[in-house]
Symmetry: C2
Subunit: 271 residues, 2 copies
């Protein structure tokens, strides 16, 4: 194992909680000040401090109108199906707010056991989609998605590797390990996730995402303001090249977001 601090030693929790609070207050203010530009925001959480995260989820959803919360694919190296994070999943479900799942991993996650670091940035280009899919897989195989049927998770970058290797996830050692402990086949849970379209311009990969999750579970997303300036235009062009029906295209561009983020969007409209 790498020398990553365990969850409980990850720095003074109060600092993370205070940073999250500052960021969220400012995000809410930006949304209020520019309603023509922002439909809402996803709240940051001090994930190394579950109790503080729960309080911030409650505060941002009820007082600031957050549409949901940003969740990372691991917390200081701890996977999301760890028992310590179970209250976060339950709270999002109870508050009827989505999680935006973002990958996190850096060059210290080596690709080869004979190396100390990931070379050529593979920790990012390949590692993040892996990381995203691993997090979704852990939520499925562990039974978290079964325990939280109304949990909404929007996975960045098209859900990572999931749409591209579904048969491996459906029939591989994970499915065998789980056996009959889940009442449904793993793939049913995987299809409950939502994915965005942030693939930086790769129409065939976006189509693969749409084919797997279906046009009701894909939300338009880029990586703005990160990524190359062309990424947003490329992603729009990709979607328009796929010959989706007008109705499906409208769902991906806006309808699904309105539906999935419904409660929060309504709050914003009234605010």
């Amino acid at each position: 194992m790498l020398a990553v601090p365990p969850l409980e030693e990850a720095g003074p929790p109060k600092v993370a909680a205070e940073f999250a609070r500052l960021a969220n207050d400012e995000m809410a203010e930006l949304v209020t000040r520019h309603p023509d530009r922002f439909a809402g925001f996803a709240a940051a959480l001090p994930l190394n401090d579950v109790d503080a995260s729960l309080a911030e989820m409650d505060r941002t959803a009820k007082e600031l109108g957050a549409l949901g919360f940003q969740l990372f694919s691991n917390v200081n190296g701890v996977p999301l199906d760890d028992d310590r994070f179970e209250p976060l999943l339950a709270a999002a479900e109870r508050l009827d707010r989505a999680f935006w799942l973002h990958p996190t991993r850096n060059a210290t996650w080596a690709d080869y056991p004979t190396e100390e670091r990931s070379d050529y940035g593979l920790w990012w280009s390949l590692g993040w989609p892996y990381e995203t899919a691993a997090a979704l897989s852990r939520l499925v195989y562990s039974g978290r998605m079964e325990a939280h049927p109304r949990l909404k998770v929007i996975a960045h970058h098209g859900g990572g590797m999931v749409p591209h290797f579904p048969s491996r996830l459906a029939m591989g050692p994970g499915a065998r390990q789980v056996g009959t402990s889940l009442p449904r086949p793993p793939m049913e849970y995987f299809r409950r996730f939502y994915a965005d379209t942030a693939l930086f311009g790769a129409a065939h990969a976006v189509r693969c995402v749409l084919d797997f999750f279906g046009p009701d579970h894909v939300l338009f997303g880029t990586d703005m303001p990160l990524g190359p300036p062309s990424a947003t235009a490329n992603t729009i062009a990709d979607l328009e090249s796929l010959r989706l029906s007008e109705a499906d295209l409208a769902r991906v561009f806006a309808g699904n977001a309105a539906r999935v983020l419904g409660a929060g969007v309504a709050t914003q409209d009234a605010g």
Copy 2:
């Protein structure tokens, strides 16, 4: 780093070389005995012993009519762009024989730095496609593909993650690290690889592979005799569902193999 033995300590090389020789002699005999069932074989190599591998490549290509050689995505945890493997790449190019690239990784390659092992078999379901793409990436970014323009690498399982995340590989930190040291954009080298269709039944993922590599660089492949019995029929059905032209379908099913493995197939025909 995990406690993986470095290349030079990976056991008495003579044992690996002798096993490879035994396996290859038997494969050649099977091909000779059943010409109606087998067009040829890929030779096993004792990859922990480069000199022995070189001798076995020469022997199997010239004496046994091997169509190519099986290469793994790492050798005892050492990536393929390591200088020690450079002679293997040069030899395959000189012999005009393909490498079949197969992923290798096991549960000791943990997904999270706080864990000792990969849970739910993710080392296989996600790890192998990652591993395949990482190996191809190392061959590209390191300049090996530039140095060996006639090297033919057929990557298993659709080339792993490569067709699904090309924009990340084209613009990410790997491309920035390489900068102008390569005369061509990285993606040009990635498109030189060949991929098979062994995705176990996932038409949208197979289509993504075809869209990326093009119908001239995809070879029909399943995982026979591994994988579920339905995998071969599912893969054929996937290909037939994609509305490829008859000519492209014929290329994927046989034409590309005949072209890519040309020298070897000719040897077999004459044998």
